[in-house]
Amino acid sequence: MEDIHIEGVHEAYFTPTVNFEVATGNCEIAGESYLEETSKFYSKLLDWIRKYTTTIKGPLNFDFKLSYFNTSSSKCLVDILDLLKKYQNDGGKVTVNWYYDDSEEELEEVEDFILETGLEINKIPME
């Protein structure tokens, strides 16, 4: 099983920076997410999590540091959180930190992700 490293790009579309590490279980999705083929991009990340949680079965530490994501991306982010919740229910060790842009609206969004998925998420204002 291999790590995922994707360099963020801010052009016509915005690709987030992704770093998923097999050895440590440290995972980061950062930057901006507004993609041409949202499902295709995130399905690779979802596959990685599925594989890690069924074969490696180590701890997962997720840092979300997204300053912007469109509604299509938010659907896929919920899919990731659902997988993490499932892993946690099955006994996996999961920590999730969500760094949000300091505004009421973005704090609400994190709170809604918590309500939506039942996952415990640490809410941290971005610097």
Binding site: A12, Y13, Y68, N70, T71, E105, D112
Partner: protein, 177 residues
């Protein structure tokens, strides 16, 4: 009569950004840069307008009745975007051609969204987010997002075109903080 003309002139004078044409990726990125970088000195307000722009512009690209093929050969919707700048708020509007059949459910969604409290609207977004991807009505969550981001109701109007189609305009107010 005079006041109507004054009102029209004021609307023209207050235009900060306007565009009519194809809503393809290249154009959207140019408009996005304008909004993100130069619209207002307040980055938080720019971000709000940007978020609204992305959702509504994508609706035009996907659903506008009037379509063109861009340089890369992609079929893309044609429409209009106008941002008006007033002393304490912006008004963001988009317009595109549509049919009565297609637009009635969209207008009903706007009414439904406008009738909800913020809490209800967040609940509705959570519900919509769990619908399978690619479902028809994907524009739904975009409109909910626009209302939540703006914290103001969605205003819409419909104009009959000479060719029998309809021109649908949706506007939302974004308060300067």
């Amino acid at each position: 009569m005079e006041s109507a003309i004054t009102e029209k002139r004021r609307m023209v004078d207050n235009i900060a950004i306007s565009y009519t044409g194809i809503f393809d990726t290249e154009i959207l990125s140019v408009l996005a840069k304008e909004i993100e970088g130069t619209l207002s000195p307040d980055d938080k307000v720019n971000k709000k307008v940007f978020k609204i722009f992305i959702e509504l512009a994508q609706n035009i690209a996907f659903y506008s009745l009037e379509r063109e093929t861009n340089a890369e050969g992609n079929d893309t919707g044609v429409g209009t975007m106008i941002i008006r700048n007033y002393s304490d708020h912006y008004v963001f509007s988009t317009g595109n051609k549509t049919t009565m059949e297609n637009i009635i459910p969209v207008m009903e969604k706007c009414d439904n969204i406008n009738s909800m409290s913020r809490e209800k609207l967040r609940e509705y977004r959570r519900l919509q987010r769990n619908m399978p991807a690619g479902e028809k009505g994907g524009g739904n969550i975009g409109l909910i997002q626009v209302a939540l981001t703006a914290s103001n109701p969605l205003e819409y109007s419909l104009i009959k075109c000479p060719d029998g189609a309809y021109f649908y305009i949706v506007s939302v107010r974004i308060d300067k903080e």
